[in-house]
């Protein structure tokens, strides 16, 4: 058994595993120093930061994770059905909140936003979801549908092109500057739970993301459309023979993914209250990482992966980069997501919950 395993190993495997090991050791070592658990550490347990600070970071991480989960859903659903990565999904995500910002500003300047925060917020979210959904559907109709049977590289390049086209179209439409979202008085401040201060915005984000996720899970698992989607993802031809309208199912998939990205966009704008045409890039790629981490094509997997990624991104800079003595560690928080992505793809390309995709399906 061991001998067989040894025979299969190649030099490249050794190098790759070696790099992985070095990074793993660095992460553990850095964390131990920050937490004050290592003899080399200048701090005593619980380390450089207090429990309250850690709790704050965890809540922030969960909120981020919730947002990533909603975006990741779009990647996962589309991948499940078309086996392609919708590169332009990050722009679908950007289009909603960027458009809705103008509604929000109008509502804020008329004072409606402060008087009726909940209906206004729902209206803004609805606008954002509808815009994102429209863009997603148009994208599918114009750019992807004609290429459904083309060689693999072709729709991928189309998606990259569509991504840049959308980014710079919105820049042309709304300007290249940063648009600030109005602050909502009702969401300012924090609730005190025991010794902890929990920001209201974070709580709202976590709860709404969770509700959205449950709704979408219900949609894909319990409804007839969800069943059709799973059937198409299993086998397009057979599903068509069974009377499933494949085109409609694909449009519905893009619509659901787009709407949830639009909602995620508003939650993102609550957390970082500025929007611009470039805002989709990092959340998009991180959500994709989350989808891969959880197992692409798998809805609960997307949620799990997003939570892990959100926590790692929020805790990581303080936990291990800081411990390793890297100055200004927050500058590298985006690099964490990329490194995680590279390593999942090397060591477990199917993700945490993903089933093994057979060669035939690919």
């Amino acid at each position: 058994m061991l001998r067989k395993w040894l025979q299969r190993i190649t030099a490249t495997d050794v190098v790759v595993w070696g790099i992985g090991l070095v990074i793993l050791v660095a992460v553990v070592w850095g964390s131990l120093i920050t937490l004050g658990l290592s003899p080399a550490s200048p701090y005593a347990f619980p380390g450089k930061y207090t429990w309250e600070q850690w709790a704050d970071l965890i809540i922030r991480g969960l909120a981020l994770g919730g947002i990533y989960a909603l975006i990741a859903l779009g990647y996962t659903l589309v991948y499940g059905i078309l086996r392609m990565i919708n590169f332009a999904h990050s722009e679908v995500f950007m289009s909603g909140p960027f458009t809705a910002a103008f509604i929000a500003i109008a509502l804020a300047s008329s004072g409606f936003l402060d008087r009726y925060p909940l209906p206004s917020l729902l209206l803004i979210t609805l606008v954002s979801a509808v815009v994102s959904m429209t863009i997603a559907i148009l994208l599918e109709r114009i750019a992807y549908r004609p290429l459904r049977n083309a060689p693999r590289l072709v729709p991928l390049i189309t998606a990259i092109g569509a991504s840049y086209f959308l980014q710079y179209t919105f820049r042309g439409l709304y300007g290249s500057g940063v648009t600030a979202y109005p602050t909502i008085a009702a969401l300012q401040g924090a609730w005190t739970v025991g010794p902890l201060q929990i920001g209201k915005t974070q709580v709202v984000i976590i709860i709404s993301a969770l509700l959205m996720m449950l709704l979408l899970y219900y949609l894909t698992q319990r409804t007839k459309m969800g069943k059709a989607m799973r059937a198409v993802s299993e086998d397009k031809e057979v599903a068509a023979l069974m009377g499933v309208d494949v085109d409609r199912v694909i449009v519905a998939t893009f619509a659901i993914g787009g709407a949830s990205a639009g909602v995620a966009g508003i939650l993102y704008a609550l957390m970082f209250p500025v929007v611009n045409f470039y805002m989709g890039f990092y959340p998009g790629i991180k959500a994709f990482t989350a989808a891969v981490l959880g197992g692409i094509g798998n809805v609960p997997g997307a949620w799990l992966g997003a939570m892990i990624l959100g926590l790692l991104e929020s805790l990581g800079p303080n936990l291990f980069l800081d411990g390793l003595g890297i100055p200004a560690p927050y500058q590298l928080k985006d690099a964490i997501a990329f490194i995680i992505l590279v390593f999942i793809l090397i060591f477990r390309p199917t993700g945490i919950l993903g089933e093994r995709i057979t060669q035939a399906k690919v």
Binding site: L147, T158, F165, G175, A328, L332, F338, I346
Partner: protein
Amino acid sequence: MSTRSSTVWKQAVRNGLIGGAVVVLLSLVGMVVAFSQRYIVSGLFTMGHVLLLAPLLLMGYSAARRAGTSSIGILLLSGALAGLVGGVVVAALVFIGQVVNLRAVLVSASPELYRTLAFGVPLPLGACIAPLAGLVAGAAGGVVSLVPSRYRNVILEPILIVLLLGLLRDLFVNMLLNWGWVGFLFRWLFAATGMSVIGAIVVLVVGGGLTFWREWRRQQAKRPPRPPQQQMVIRVVSIIILIVVLIFLPRILGTFFSEILDNVGLFVLMGLGLNIVVGLAGLLDMGYVAFYAIGAYVMGVLTSPELGFLGLSYWAAVPIALVGAALAGILLGLPVLKMRGDYLAIVTLGFGEIVRLVVGSDWLRPYLGGSQGIQLIAQPRIGPIVLNTQQELYYLILIGCLLAAFIAWRLKDSRIGRAWMAVREDEDVAQAMGINTVTTKLMAFAMGALFAGLSGTIFAAKLQSTYPHSFNVLVSINVLSLVIIGGMGSMPGVVVGALALMGLPDLLREFAEFRYLVYGALLVTMMLVRPEGLWPEARRRLELREE
């Protein structure tokens, strides 16, 4: 008959709506206004007009083609209807813009836009001009569809030439100024902006005549191919002419245009490298900028006295930078060996971003300069001569490009080149045929990285400094776009792509802002209509047409 004709009209209306939507989009992203001062024909016709009318003309043409009858009346009418509907959509935008202040949201919906859309006619009346112009444009599209396809070039080519001459007027006039009396002979073709009216007419007539003659001759007799010896002579002569032109190009163009030429050259160099990775080996690398950055940064670290490491000369640092870039290519290649197209794209994208983030972080500031970058990078010297002007650097870039082109050309048909193409077509089959996919892929990454690294070293020496923000993902997108639009796997395609995608935006200042918008649209259109690119590689074209 009546149901059939009603579908014709429906199709025309649909085309018109699409064309109108395109024009409205072009207007609202600001392209129409930005180009409304760029005269094609002086005082008569601007690029803004072209953007306004070309979609309608195209939709009229398409409507007439789809009408599928031979009745001239129906063809013309359906084209005109499509144009009219499109014009009405545009007029609706003008009307809405008068009632609602669109500018609060859409930054480009300025009074100037409405003036342009109304063709400068005062407004209440001006709103009628757009439908009228649309009608004419659509009908013109219908007329074009009547012309037999082999003579369509006779109309299209001269128009394209006028468009190009008018757009690039500054470049051509500048060239003519350097030519003394020869230039003076052709000076009258151009006005202060764009082409002169007489010049445009002459070019249209002469160009049309020449194209007609060519098409007519091609029609007359199928001439036998020239004997091989003659072909050889023609080939050698044209290569010699090309080399002479390349050598004297900076003299012909002058300083300002030489700088643009240098930029194009750097991108040709990168394109040749990425062409191996994407075009030959089929590995979609979106983090290509990383190797460009590594080349530039190794150059900076080794030569800049600011950081005070080695203070090498340019030539001593180049080999080290190249080795560094190639090693980075292999390092990136190793973990992604088993990945397929789309995963590979994202991971390489991530790799490019990691390099940029790490290089710009405070963590490595003592070694790489952080966000302030590295200054005082050594310039290449040959004996007492320092290559520091754009014209001198051009020769360095030219030599780099020729060297890279030669290597790429020799590799392409070698054993490893054929192995790359086999891996591109089907990895499993290639492996079954005895190709070592690991070394093949690593070799592709290393070669690609090498060329990008070389480009990076020249870039660093040209600016004498490097900053992390020069190496963002958009550079990768630029290179990828020019390789794909030129034609994946084709080396002349890389040059054509680089000239079109890098040269044009630098020549047309207004265009720079819309660069990525147009690239994106081009990539999508290209994949939908002509996936093999502008100047395709022969084998590639066959493959893509099979599907």
